[in-house]
């Protein structure tokens, strides 16, 4: 990193000295610009948060009633300590943003997590021209190329239908914030009733309040005792697999929806009946396309296969570097295990409806 860079990695997170604020800090700081509400990007206890208007409600669910949250519409610029800051849709989950920073003619964009295929539960990714682009690389290998989302939804609905025919419940495991709602939006409610785990239902409410259309869902915990779950769809975080909570559904077929399901070995290791390839992160072609669309001459690559992506970009003549996050150095390689934590680990707090 150069001393003149608009952002510097510090022990608290990416710091903008000119404006005296952090982007997605991992420790509490006085002023945080937050790309989205996932736990590894939004940390508890900051003095003030700046986020998109679209993401305000979900961030509130995660950061608590006391948090001071400033919301700004996509594309609308605000001045933070002399730096012009605006947020632009990242297409990852509801309210997810890329952060655009402008100071004395230099433009930096931090993408946070993003994906380029549009879906019904958030504003679609929008390329932003910049000098320096900070990108994720969770799926930064050419083996990761997503099938179209509609094809995956069709597979999921077909799986649900065949479970219903076999008298089984369908238990679909997905991250509670974002992935779950995206899946819900693709389910065909004519097949059967849809239930959710408390962690999912709480966020469904925030999604609906923000104006996102989801099919009717019921909180599974509120169902009467002795109910038959055959033919139902239940959406729950992956931690629910094999728990006493999941056992009450009787005969059940498990499925997991994740980008990691691309690889046969990972599918088999997860011990689910079906693995659907669906990710809220950008795939390899999407990543390269997004980088190109920014027109950036400098690319800083973070969490995921950052070394691979940097090497590839350098071979293409770009000025690319790995930008250190707190995850770096803990492991000699960055692989499925790390991204899994990001995509698949359920939220630590608020498992049940309060």
């Amino acid at each position: 990193m150069n001393a003149s860079d608009l952002l510097q990695p510090t022990e608290h997170g990416l710091y903008c000295e000119e404006g005296d604020f952090h982007v997605d800090p991992w420790r509490p700081v006085p002023r945080a610009v937050v790309t989205h509400a996932h736990a590894d990007h939004a940390c508890w206890g900051c003095g003030r948060y700046l986020t998109s208007a679209e993401g305000e409600r979900v961030l509130r669910v995660r950061m608590g009633r006391e948090a001071v949250i400033d919301a700004v519409a996509y594309g609308e610029a605000v001045d933070v300590g002399g730096v012009r800051v605006s947020l632009h849709p990242a297409g990852h989950i509801l309210g997810s943003s890329q952060v655009r920073l402008e100071h004395r003619g230099r433009v930096w964009v931090v993408s946070g997590d993003y994906k380029v295929e549009p879906d019904a539960t958030c504003s679609p990714f929008e390329p932003v021209r910049c000098h320096a682009f900070v990108t994720e690389s969770t799926f930064g290998l050419p083996i990761y190329r997503w099938p179209s989302q509609q094809a995956v939804f069709d597979e999921i609905n077909a799986w649900w239908r065949s479970n219903r025919e076999a008298g089984k419940a369908s238990l679909l495991l997905a991250y509670a914030l974002g992935k779950s709602q995206r899946l819900l939006s693709g389910l065909d409610p004519s097949i059967g009733p849809i239930y959710t785990h408390g962690a999912v239902e709480k966020l469904n409410r925030a999604y609906r309040e923000t104006g996102i259309d989801l099919p009717p869902t019921s909180y599974a915990g509120a169902a009467e005792k002795g109910k038959s779950w055959a033919g139902s769809m239940i959406v729950a975080p992956p931690s629910a697999q094999g728990t006493p909570w999941a056992r009450k559904f009787g005969p059940v077929s498990y499925a997991l929806a994740s980008g990691w399901m691309t690889i046969r070995g990972t599918r088999r290791r997860k011990a689910v009946d079906r693995g659907f390839v669906l990710s809220d992160h950008v795939d390899w072609p999407g990543l390269l396309g997004a980088i190109e669309a920014t027109g950036a001459e400098r690319v800083l690559v973070t969490h995921g296969y950052s070394a691979v992506v940097v090497k590839w970009l350098r071979e293409k003549g770009l000025d690319a570097d790995v930008i250190l996050t707190r995850y770096e150095g803990e492991r000699d390689d960055k692989g499925a295990e790390e991204g899994e934590a990001d995509e698949e680990t359920p939220p630590a707090e608020g498992e049940e409806l309060s």
């Binding site: 050419p142 190329r145 000699d332």
Partner: protein, 531 residues
């Protein structure tokens, strides 16, 4: 190919045998005989020899995908399988194909064997362009000779029986031996007329389950016969219409590999099938299995090896006599027929009646079993005197009652990533014990016996406690202790420790032990036979 790839996916996605049989039945019910014949061939584990080595698949796919070598390697590291990496990396297909499996195999795959490299290259690129990811994966596996899927021959047999209405035992019988995957073969497989048995064919082997409880649970000892369980190659020796055939349990026809037994056939009466064990045997006692391994896999058998490692057939059972299938008769009466036969053949350096182990009580037999290792046996076989010769592994009548394995406590000193299902996890371990100088010396490599949870914990440990890298191997801080089991132990000049162990595996993680408490080489040497 599409239907076969779908079948592959269905079989791969479930671990439940019921669902597997269901998927197989669905496939066979709709498949044309030409395709079904090949499907049977592949599913039961017969495969065409490698047509194109995976090294070439790799190079051609990387080129077609526009991916440099280093990036292919990175991708391979994440996937752990060349055929799959290739399938994932290639560009999206620009067309789809409904060509059947038999076409792909007969008109595309087999001709490639004699094609030059340029033609192979062009054919592969063309094939890939019309296949989705699963089809490519299956195709790549077939091409590189590595096709495997998680079904047993028994499940395939069950599905075929269900589809054809033919008894499973008859289907199993027809699947044995030498056959070509043709439509005519598939039709024969499903024939309800069962008088077809080709005279070369062995019977499905009757297999035993491991006895887990105490032998008393089997009831009165008088109902049982005990024999030594030998460590050789299970085989059937067939004499029909003046021909001799020797089949191993792996369904390999090995008549030519054991000339001693091939010539033995001429001494057997017409219409005889013996079940027994091929054992290396010299001067009246068995040689270690390692000696037999010197013969396995050799293309030509010279005079020296035949003199150094001669084999005998230890006869266990008589299942066809006078051209009649007598598998349904009680074991006792088959055994007396066998005894008379062995006696009349009278070639004690070729054919030996499996000796029985006599005892009047289970305690007595338990004691006798302790002598297994001194005879190079793995334990005892218990057979119910009234039992038929079953098809496959049926519970209840035949039990293998092995002596307890050797066990040692050893320290994890190095680890390597696994492949396939375990790619990206450190799952292949090297274990060491303390030598006379107080240093850790490797004693065994093992990669099974831990739960997925334990594997994840060991994996995390390896990542945090790496010491050095040697290629794919990472040495780790000696801290974790595991109890290992193994079946046999021998001196070895090829191993640094001076000993070689057979079938090592992890029994359990000894959380309670410190590395200092692991076993010593001296202690292990004491287990060597004759010490």
């Amino acid at each position: 190919m599409k239907a076969f790839a779908e079948l592959y996916t269905a079989l791969d996605e479930t671990t439940k045998t019921g669902e597997k049989v269901e998927a197989l039945t669905r496939y066979f019910a709709q498949a044309r005989p030409a395709d079904a014949a090949w499907a049977v061939y592949f599913l039961i584990g017969r495969k065409p020899k490698q047509v194109v080595p995976s090294k070439k698949l790799r190079a051609w796919a990387a080129e077609a995908a526009g991916v440099p070598d280093w990036l292919f390697d990175e991708s391979y590291d994440a996937v752990g399988d060349v055929a799959e990496t290739v399938a994932l990396l290639l560009p999206t297909p620009d067309r789809s194909s409904d060509l059947p499996l038999s076409h792909w195999v007969e008109d595309r795959l087999l001709p490639l064997r004699d094609a030059d490299e340029a033609a192979q290259h062009a054919a592969m690129i063309d094939a890939w362009r019309s296949m989705d990811r699963t089809q490519r994966f299956v195709w790549n596996k077939l091409i590189s000779g590595g096709f495997r899927v998680g079904v047993s021959q028994q499940l395939v047999t069950r599905a075929l029986a269900r589809v054809s209405g033919v008894e499973a035992a008859i289907v199993a019988h027809r699947l044995m031996g030498d056959w070509e995957p043709t439509p005519a073969f598939y039709d024969r497989l499903r024939m309800t007329d069962a008088r077809d048995a080709d005279h070369s064919r062995p019977y499905p082997f009757c297999l035993a389950h491991a006895l887990e409880g105490p032998p008393e649970s089997l009831g009165a000892i008088e109902d049982w016969q005990a024999e030594w369980k030998w460590d050789g190659i299970r085989a059937q020796l067939i004499r029909r219409r003046g021909d001799t055939f020797l089949w191993t349990r792996g369904e390999e026809l090995v008549t030519d590999r054991y000339p001693e037994l091939a010539t033995l056939g001429a001494f057997l009466p017409e219409g005889t099938v013996l079940d027994g064990e091929i054992l290396p045997w010299l001067d009246g006692s068995p040689l270690p299995f390692a000696q037999l391994q010197r013969r396995i896999g050799r293309k030509t058998l010279g005079k020296t090896i035949l003199a150094e490692v001669p084999v005998v057939l230890i006869a266990y059972d008589l299942i066809e006599s006078g051209g009649k299938d007598i598998r349904a008769e009680p074991f006792e009466s088959r055994r007396s027929g066998l005894a008379r036969l062995v006696e009349s053949v009278n070639l004690p350096d070729r054919l030996i009646l499996s000796p029985t182990v006599e005892a009047t009580s289970w305690e007595g037999l338990t004691e006798a079993r302790e002598g297994s290792r001194d005879r190079q046996a793995e334990g005892l076989m218990l057979k119910r005197r009234g039992s038929p010769y079953h098809v496959g592994r049926k519970r209840g009548d035949w039990w293998k009652w092995k002596v307890n394995p050797f066990t040692v406590d050893a320290v994890l000193t190095a680890a390597q990533r696994g492949s396939g299902k375990r790619a990206s996890l450190y799952t292949d371990y090297t274990f060491s014990v303390w030598d006379d100088a107080g240093k850790l010396v490797p004693i065994a490599k093992a990669y099974s016996g831990l739960t997925d949870k334990e594997i994840a914990r060991v994996d995390a440990f390896v990542r945090r406690h790496m010491v050095e890298k040697f290629g794919p191997v990472r040495t780790v801080k000696p801290e974790l202790v595991f109890e290992l089991a193994f079946e046999g132990i021998q001196r070895s000049t090829r191993h640094k420790s001076g000993i070689a162990v057979r079938f090592p595996r992890i029994l359990r993680w000894r959380d309670d032990k410190k590395p200092e408490e692991a076993d010593t080489l001296e202690g292990i040497r004491a287990m060597l036979p004759g010490e």
